[in-house]
Amino acid sequence: MAAKAVGYDVIIGLEVHVELKTRTKLFCGCENRFGAPPNSLTCPVCLGLPGVLPVLNQEAVAKAARAGLALGCTVREISKFDRKQYFYPDLPKGYQISQYDQPLCEHGQLAIYDGRGNYVKTVRIRRIHLEEDAGKLNHLGQRLSDAAGSLVDLNRAGVPLIEIVSEPDLSSGEEARWYLNALRTVLSYLDISDLRMEEGSMRCDANVSLRPHGWAGSLGDLPRVEIKNLNSLRNVERAIDYEVERQATRLAQGLKIELETRGFDDVSGRTYSQRSKEEAHDYRYFPEPDLPPLRLEAAQIAAWAKALPPLPDRVREELKAAGLEAKDAEILVQDPSAVAYFRAAWEAYGKAVPVANWMLSDLARLLNAAKRGYGDAPVPPAELAALLTQIDRGVLSGRMAKEVLEAMFERGESAEAAIRRLGVSQISDEGRIRQEVEAVIGEHAKVVEDFRAGKEKALAFLVGQVMKRTRGQANPEVVNRLLRELLSEPVRPSGS
């Protein structure tokens, strides 16, 4: 349930850090890779040794700019890097190279949708800047407060990050979750990051304030609480809901909200104070003397914009126009590999809705069970299309097609090969079915009489008998039709 604060508007802005998927780090040629042995991906630059110079990775610039363009930002032709200075053991230089007052991208926006695919609102994006990640700390002890010390792994130090800062346009934990989901979806279409919150390649900080109704001052004057390092969509929502209630309760008791940084405890579901206003940051930003300003050609920026793939908003509209329900379209839209699969199968088969239905029911179930995605589905889109075509031709019933799909999935077979191997093709040949129907009518005179006397249920028994004689392979529609046809004929006197 979304937390409520009576008499106040809830004001939320998010800062999202996303690690870029480049081959190398931002300012040196060390490999950018998760999970390598500790301190095996370092060099004098990312260790912060004296006398070295950073050299900017052009691929990181391109990926950051593409993220900005996909989020509707303006990419600056001139941006600059600055030093943000603080001491912490995961930061070997004693400063982070970031961008302060001239970030790479500014003034974007992102439409957010609820879980059923309904449009909620458009959130403005203030800026996106490029910066380097810090190393990783492992504390010797259960928690930082009682750790005897910490171990530092600098493999991550210098990995390229973008920080995406929203305007304070969100008003609940739920909206924050939708925003993050929409952001992750857009970025997933660009293939610029692994976007794994659990591995830290996407991280979120939330700024939460309560604004009294009728507040005339600026938002900047409201006491603002920053919740750091939220590591899942669910925790973003939980932390914000908890924080809104905490602030509302304090205000209701006549207490003040302290300007502070808080952490979130996953187990208790509560936020806790980390640093108060007295310890407010003084980062002493100044222009990075080791890096001249970054200049990009307008033509280069235009070329990046032109090369963007179709983005989720456009794909969502396209899927709805093809006849998909908003809910189904939304599920596909959130996974670019699902969209690619859908497009290929749709093109091969010709109809959109059956493709989506089969993808979202049977194929999704098989993929989930095998822990695979549409990108590496053992049944390629053309084969799903081939399977659906066999249903249309009456070769397979829906039930048979499910069985065939499972076989195709397990063995990587084509639809044709699986149908042949399983011997499950449906009998739609009328002459053949008529024989069976006549035989059944002949054998079950009593039931036939019942049906003719108006006992509609008797028909199901007769259909069952025909199915039994054909080992389930007769096309049920044809069986039904022929049975009705033959049973409505006048009763022939026996013996004639």
Binding site: T22, R23, T24, C28, G29, C30, E31, P37, P38, N39, S40, L41, C43, L47, L56, N57, Q58, E59, A60, V61, K80, Y86, F87, Y88, P89, L91, Q96, D133, A134, H139, L144, S145, A147, A148, G149, S150, L151, V152, D153, L154, R203, D205, K228, N229, Q274, R275, S276, E279, A280, H281, D282, Y283, R284, P287, P289, L291, P292, P293, L294, R295
Partner: protein, 104 residues
Amino acid sequence: MGFTVRDVRHVARLARLAVSEKEAERLVSDLNAVLTYAEQLNALTTDSVLPTFHGLGRAMPLREDAVHPSFSPERALSQAPQVKDAMFVVPRILEGDGEGGAEE
């Protein structure tokens, strides 16, 4: 410019520098002298001049995204006062220890 002992202490704290009473007083006068010297620039009209962020007039050179060999962990850790599990050992971290601190 009025640079005070308090400012010196603040900046020294941020830089984790131990500054004695006597040094602080000397730094106040030194830093004020530096600031007064730089203040001469205020006499110039700079309305039509773009801010200079960097001494080099040229744009940033960029690097191809190509992997270069890294140090071995042994080499990377060779100057560390203490090592455990191929990682640098640092003393206990005190959260909320004055300005600066945990950041992403």
